[in-house]
């Protein structure tokens, strides 16, 4: 009896280490990065044209789930590079001891803030914003209090699994500080659902499940440029908008350190930065030589931009998360 159980168990253990001729660079990233319409395919083609390697993207949920995945796998991870964390998570990611210094210079970037991180390199940035359909919602709320008072329905992401979700948490915290818990309580009846990642939330919004969705000020550019649809807009909030800077880092103990390093260099080149605006729909960390695509000039630019530095964000996260959980689980 036990033999059959063991045999059945053994038969299932299929090891699948592919013995490749060319070196494989494994990059863990978030779901929307690797979709057919995301930056993944173009980035892969451009990098593989020069690296004499096989670039393999592994989608691991949304950005924050990416960090949990890295923690879960620990030193056993197959990842050589992790791409898609943001500055709200870099402190926690550093603490795992799983990120190696990149050793590259990061001057000359087109970021709104100076960059001094020796473990992570930025690849794009943007401002969080609620996106709505102006043909259905003519008057969008102009701050969180208005939103909470209206019966506008929103879809947001879980801060534990998604970087926009975490960004929103810190946005409210940065804007309201001590009053953040109260703001969340008022907002809780506006929230249709909390999704695990940005992709699900945006998909549900496009299907008409809500009036607004947490996304970016740059999201309307997608509808304008790719779909020639000018109706989608980002609501300008007078508290200011929280900024997101998305980063990539080399995984400590990677067996492809050189390749990982040249990939990080590639990230700041035109081959990568040039496709970011119209595939990831974010501002590039270093604007490519042909500038931003037409249509980006129509986007709103926040009057106040909010951001915590990485250590501050890490400190505020736990308190903000507890407030959020208790407000939303009532």
């Amino acid at each position: 009896m036990r033999h059959s159980i063991l045999a059945a168990g053994l038969a299932l253990t299929i090891g699948t280490p592919a013995l490749a001729q060319t070196p494989v660079l494994t990059v863990y990233t978030y779901d929307s990065f690797v979709t057919d319409w995301g930056p993944g395919p173009a980035v892969e083609e451009a990098f593989e044209a020069t690296c004499n390697c096989d670039l393999e993207f592994v989608a691991a949920g949304d950005g924050a789930a990416l960090l949990a995945r890295l923690r879960l796998e620990g030193a056993r991870t197959d990842a050589d590079v992790v791409l898609g964390l943001d500055t709200n998570l870099t402190a926690a990611a550093r603490e795992t001891g799983l990120i190696a210094p990149h050793g590259l210079s990061a001057d000359d970037l087109d970021l709104p803030i100076a960059w001094e991180d020796d473990a992570f390199l930025p690849f794009d940035w943007g401002y969080f914003a609620f996106v709505y359909d102006s043909s259905k919602t003519p008057e969008a709320p102009s701050n969180f209090r208005d939103l909470a008072q209206s019966d506008t329905k929103i879809i947001i992401q879980d801060p534990r699994s998604s970087t926009p979700g975490l960004g929103l948490l810190l946005w409210v915290k940065a804007a309201y500080g001590e009053d953040a818990a109260e703001v969340w309580q008022d907002l809780s009846d506006n929230i249709v659902t909390v999704t695990k990642g940005w992709s699900e939330a945006y998909g549900l919004f496009l299907e008409g499940e809500s009036d607004m969705v947490l996304s970016y000020t740059t999201s309307p550019a997608y509808h304008l440029i790719a779909e020639e649809d000018p109706t989608k807009a980002a609501a300008a909030f007078d508290e200011g908008h929280y900024m997101q800077i998305e980063v990539a880092g080399i995984v400590e103990g990677s067996d492809q350190t050189d390749l990982a390093k040249s990939f990080l260099e590639f990230i700041l080149s035109d081959g990568f930065q040039g496709v970011i605006p119209t595939t990831n729909w974010m501002y590039p960390a270093k604007v490519a030589s042909d500038g931003l695509p037409d249509g980006f000039e129509t986007l709103i630019t926040p009057e106040t931009s909010l951001i915590f530095d990485p250590s501050e964000a890490a400190m505020k996260r736990d308190v903000a998360l507890a407030e959020w959980l208790s407000a939303l689980s009532q």
Binding site: M1, S4, T16, K153, D158, V194, G197, E207, S329
Partner: protein
């Protein structure tokens, strides 16, 4: 063999619980969101149980007292949700009740807005969809157990409809309704896939889902263990109560025999009522599945190639789980049949224990036990198969046990007199007699395992995947057409594995 099996079951069923308890320690840090998860788990399970029973009652009554063409087909179909993968049910319901679904589109045309399905309402809807057929079959059995003579007698004594109900039907309902409700409650307390897909954030998180989140969002093993302990307490107590009230074995069958009811009029308003109830039930349960077939079939050929490897993995898991569950059940039942030994009794207790354990509790324990030594991702499929086998073991034992007992009591003397002992007694007596039951329970185990989305979600990376996991990912990526097509494929596969085993059991029987 008895003690060997005890050891194997202890390793699979008891050890994970000990590891979980050990890891959880004596921490008394209960957070508000934990309370919310426990509250939601209990609330949705109570609502699901109540609604399922209320919906099932008129359906079962109509089916019990009417004879019509297609009645048997309907009763057979009512058994289907038991082997319907949960994720398929969810996708099916979304194609009807989701914001992009058929109902929303029709309502929009007449100016109505369908409220969002996400959250408590969606979770309860899915549970009702999955459990009403079970409750209906269970109640139908209850009506069938009332002797037909009683109804004839009642009619000849001129009982009014109310008297018949009060004296004949009510006592039966008093006995069966709580048991049925309790069974649904127990099933719903361990709900994971439904909460994962239909739940909406902290407000609609079950304990199972919270365990998953502790793993996947925070990788906080101590917290996962603590939640697992809460889950264990809840299901343990429920199972203990249920075990006393519930006739487990009767969930397997379901009687097709219509009752002769001279007391019920054959025409008039009551007939119209019963016909309406049955028609509405058929539409409610078949429309979502039909819509999967209609929407999914055209997209079947264009499914991404990753589906095929995932299908192979799922088939392997299902076959291994079915083999383990059935061999395990056979061992348990045979050991018990050879007399009331300590090993036999221990085995029966161990075999029913998984009823009190949820897949994620078992999964958490096994993860903790394995993680220090082996990369859990490398054993995702064997672990999924093992946990599924453990979870289906009680059903397999429940189905096999009566059959073997009957065989033993009928043929034991004969077999003894011709010296049929040991292996040959198994080969020539027990095996042929229990083959239909073996086939049926293997089919159930395979179908349940092929659709399972719980352990695999804990253990797997993106590299090894199963079909329900792929459906979930397609759904998450909002590729609804592909998700529907993949669900249809999963549905066909689970029906297929069930049918193959069941056919093997019934062949030349």
């Amino acid at each position: 063999m008895g003690w060997g099996l005890v050891l194997a079951l202890t390793l699979i069923v008891i050890a994970p619980v000990i590891v979980v308890a050990w890891q959880a320690g004596v921490s008394t840090d209960i957070r508000p969101e934990d309370i919310a998860a426990i509250r939601f788990t209990v609330t949705q399970a109570i609502l699901s149980a109540l609604v399922s029973v209320i919906v099932a009652l008129p359906i079962a009554r109509a089916l019990a007292r009417r004879q019509f063409w297609g009645r048997n087909a309907i009763i057979t179909l009512l058994g289907a949700p038991f082997i319907l993968p949960v994720i398929v049910a969810v996708i099916a319901l979304l194609t009807i009740f989701g914001q992009g679904g058929i109902l929303a589109r029709y309502l929009a045309e007449i100016g109505f807005n369908l409220p969002s399905i996400y959250g408590l309402s969606g979770v309860v809807l899915a549970h009702v969809f999955l459990n009403v057929p079970l409750v209906t079959r269970y109640l139908l059995q209850g009506w069938n157990d009332i002797p037909a003579e009683h109804f004839r007698l009642a009619a000849s004594l001129g009982f009014s409809a109310r008297d018949t109900f009060r004296l004949l039907e009510l006592p039966m309902l008093r006995a069966t309704l709580p048991a049925a409700a309790l069974a649904v409650f127990l099933i719903c307390t361990t709900s994971f896939a439904v909460a994962l897909t239909m739940g909406g954030g902290p407000r609609a998180t079950t304990i199972e889902l919270a365990i998953f989140q502790a793993f996947r969002f925070d990788f906080d093993l101590a917290r996962a263990s603590q939640l697992a302990l809460f889950q264990l307490l809840l299901t343990g107590v429920t199972a203990l109560v249920a075990f006393r009230v519930l006739r487990l074995a009767s969930f397997g069958g379901g009687s097709g025999r219509p009752l002769s009811r001279p007391d019920i009029p054959k025409s008039g308003g009551l007939v119209v009522l019963d016909a309406t109830v049955v028609a509405v039930a058929v539409v409610f349960f078949m429309a979502p599945l039909l819509s999967i077939v209609v929407r999914g079939a055209p997209h079947l050929p264009d499914l991404p190639s990753s589906i095929w490897l995932a299908s192979l993995n799922s088939l392997l898991v299902a076959l291994a789980a079915a083999l383990m569950a059935v061999l395990g059940a056979l061992g348990v039942v045979l050991a018990a049949a050879y007399g009331a030994t300590v090993a036999g009794t221990t085995l029966r207790i161990l075999a029913y224990l998984p009823l009190a354990l949820s897949p994620l509790v078992l999964g958490t324990g096994l993860f903790l036990a394995i993680n220090p030594y082996i990369d859990p991702r490398d054993v995702a499929l064997p672990v999924a198969a093992t946990v599924n086998a453990a979870v289906t073991l009680p059903f397999a034992v429940g189905i096999l046990h009566p059959v073997l007992l009957r065989t033993e009591s009928q043929y034991a003397n004969l077999a003894d007199s011709v010296g049929l002992t040991g292996w040959s007694r198994f080969r020539d007596l027990y095996f042929p007699a229990s083959r239909p039951a073996l086939g049926f329970s293997a089919g159930l185990a395979a179908a349940l395992s092929i659709g399972d989305l719980s352990v695999i979600a804990l253990f797997t990376g993106a590299d090894v995947t199963t079909l329900p996991m792929q459906v979930y990912r397609l759904m998450g990526a909002y590729r609804m057409e592909d998700a529907v097509a993949a669900s249809l494929w999963l549905l066909l596969l689970s029906l297929f594995v069930f049918w193959v085993f069941d056919w093997w059991g019934r062949r030349d029987a």
